[in-house]
């Protein structure tokens, strides 16, 4: 081993650390979760790491596990591209590279003492799950907690057992909706703004003490935020998590540039006023 390697690795932010894929779990037909023992610094809810699959490449993935266990990083991944498809085929125990954690975090400090509205569309549930773990660990420090989750179809739902358990224990107020359903679905059908409309009529909803964290497709975040503004939340109380194809994750390469922001270092979590104008535009 060359001398000074440890020194180098501490200096070189592009250098992944070796970890292993463990506890692989299929979440739905194309989405799976796994755990990596983390050689990296502790993460904050909302941050992401870069995962390196040997011989294939790197991919940015939000950390979806509990920040109370910083020695583990959990990832929930949908098979959509080369690297995530390769990840999906890795058996447990496979070594992979990990670097991070990167990016901004959900504003939990600001949320304490407030009512919390977590609005998640599809796989957007994964980056907010660390928030839920953090909140439930000190549940008494928050007011009401709503988790509004929309998905395309009941078969796309994931974290189901966990969601139902939280709801059953009255830890949070869970509301689910799907775009389209089959006969087995007994819940609501529609879009997530329908859930927000219902919430607006809820006696317990008080915009002046509510803080919203929205994560999902951009269109969904845009309309959810607009709805929340109509419902009386001030712009500074709305947060969204954006996604782009991060390559370096360090603010060097510019692949994730979003108007004047770099999503990798200024985001992925943004306060609504910082991105409101951009989300209204196509192809930014």
């Amino acid at each position: 081993m060359a001398p000074g390697r440890a020194e180098m690795s501490a200096q070189d932010p592009m250098l992944p650390q070796v970890s292993h894929l463990q506890q692989r779990q299929q979440e739905n037909h194309n989405t799976f979760s796994f755990v990596c023992p983390s050689p990296l610094p502790a993460f904050a809810p909302g941050q992401f790491s870069m995962l390196y699959v040997f011989g294939v490449g790197e991919v940015p993935i939000s950390i979806s596990g509990s920040p109370l266990q910083p020695e583990l990083q959990t990832f929930t991944v949908r098979e959509v591209g080369q690297v995530t498809r390769a990840l999906a085929r890795l058996p447990e125990g496979t070594a992979l590279g990990l670097r991070g954690p990167y990016g901004s975090a959900w504003p939990l400090d600001q949320a304490r003492g407030q009512d919390l509205l977590i609005v998640a569309g599809g796989l957007g549930l994964a980056p907010v799950r660390p928030v839920i773990y953090s909140v439930l660990a000190e549940r008494e420090r928050y007011g009401r907690v709503w988790l509004l989750h929309g998905n395309r179809h009941p078969r796309e739902l994931f974290y189901k057992a966990e969601l139902e358990q939280w709801a059953a224990e009255s830890q949070l107020d869970l509301r689910l909706i799907v775009d389209s359903a089959d006969r087995s679905w007994r819940g609501q059908v529609g879009v997530i703004t329908d859930l927000l409309r219902e919430l607006a009529d809820d006696r317990d909803f008080a915009p002046e003490r509510s803080l919203a964290m929205i994560c999902g497709p951009e269109l969904m975040m845009h309309f959810s935020a607009l709805r929340l503004l109509e419902m009386g939340l001030t712009p500074a109380r709305i947060f969204v998590s954006l996604e782009r194809n991060m390559q370096c994750a360090l603010g060097f390469c510019g692949h994730c540039q979003y108007g004047p922001h770099f999503i990798c270092k200024d985001g992925p979590v943004f306060a609504w006023p910082d991105v409101a104008g951009l989300l209204a535009l196509k192809e930014v």
Binding site: A2, Q11, V18, Y52, A95, L250, F252
Partner: protein
């Protein structure tokens, strides 16, 4: 460290190149290739674009022959130094599959020792902006750092601003610096080859300057240089109000969404703008 100034002729400029080559520097500088002045490896002064100039307007670039034998008598070409300071391809690490897993081996940044010949004030400023991005943030790029720290910069004070130039508005020219090792001003003479007022800007640059046969620069020479650069400053083809421009860019998305929408739709994402941009 006080800057030292002296005058060298073309032979002494060649001597400087040879000193740099002897010390293991790879010289990178301007050369005329297929109608364009581009940056590439140099061996001698004769590789420089002697007797060439360029004419630039929006969407227009042509090289043209000069009447004289100026070596730096052009504005700036379409290529930039960033190709050398952060090359398009860079090995970041090696990964080896082992029986017990994966070994990730760092790559020690083994940067070439580049001597960048003919860096203009605007370009030097662009390099310093790159420094902010790659070295000044929460993360430093060790590969860029290695190349940057080793790079020797011979700047050229610009006496040939183009029709699209605005370095005076930016406060980055036409005189280069600070941030160079050596800077020269090319002086044209009616009946003789051009000569060069050479100025040191770093201890490293000073060592090279002192190794050359310098003719002392008289107050008249310095006054003449000042005049030449003032003349160049008056020939700027463009002006740019930077505070206004910054504000316009920052508020652009909100103020003129349709404009940006249309621009975005026309963009082919070919990255040509990124390739030619000095930053």
């Amino acid at each position: 460290m006080a800057a030292q100034v002296g005058i060298i002729d073309r032979a002494q400029l060649q001597a400087l190149f040879e000193l740099l080559l002897r010390d293991g520097y790879t010289l990178i500088g301007p050369q005329w290739q297929q109608g364009v002045i581009v940056y590439g490896p140099l061996q001698s002064v004769s590789d420089l674009p002697e007797g060439w100039t360029d004419r630039q307007e929006k969407g227009f670039y042509r090289t043209e022959a000069r009447e004289d034998q100026a070596l730096f008598g052009y504005t700036v070409g379409p290529t930039s130094w960033k190709h050398f300071l952060y090359p398009p391809r860079q090995e970041l690490f090696q990964a080896c599959r082992r029986a017990d897993g994966l070994e990730i081996l760092p790559v020690t940044p083994e940067a070439p020792r580049y001597a960048l010949i003919g860096v203009r004030g605007c370009e030097l400023n662009a390099i310093q902006i790159q420094d902010r991005v790659f070295l000044g943030g929460p993360y430093a790029d060790p590969h860029y750092q290695a190349r940057r720290e080793k790079a020797f910069i011979l700047a050229v004070n610009c006496t040939e601003p183009g029709a699209t130039c605005f370095c005076v508005s930016a406060g980055t020219g036409p005189a280069a610096g600070p941030g160079y090792d050596l800077a020269l001003t090319e002086r044209l003479h009616a009946a003789a080859l051009p000569d060069y007022l050479l100025r040191s800007g770093s201890p490293r640059g000073l060592r090279y300057l002192q190794a050359l046969q310098l003719q002392p620069a008289t107050p008249a020479d310095l006054a003449d240089e000042t005049r030449t650069l003032e003349l160049a400053a008056r020939q700027m083809g463009r002006q740019l109000d930077f505070p206004k421009a910054r504000e316009a860019i920052q508020t652009a998305y909100a103020a003129r969404p349709a404009f940006w929408q249309e621009l975005g739709e026309r963009c082919l994402a070919c990255t040509s703008c990124t390739m030619v941009c000095p930053t």
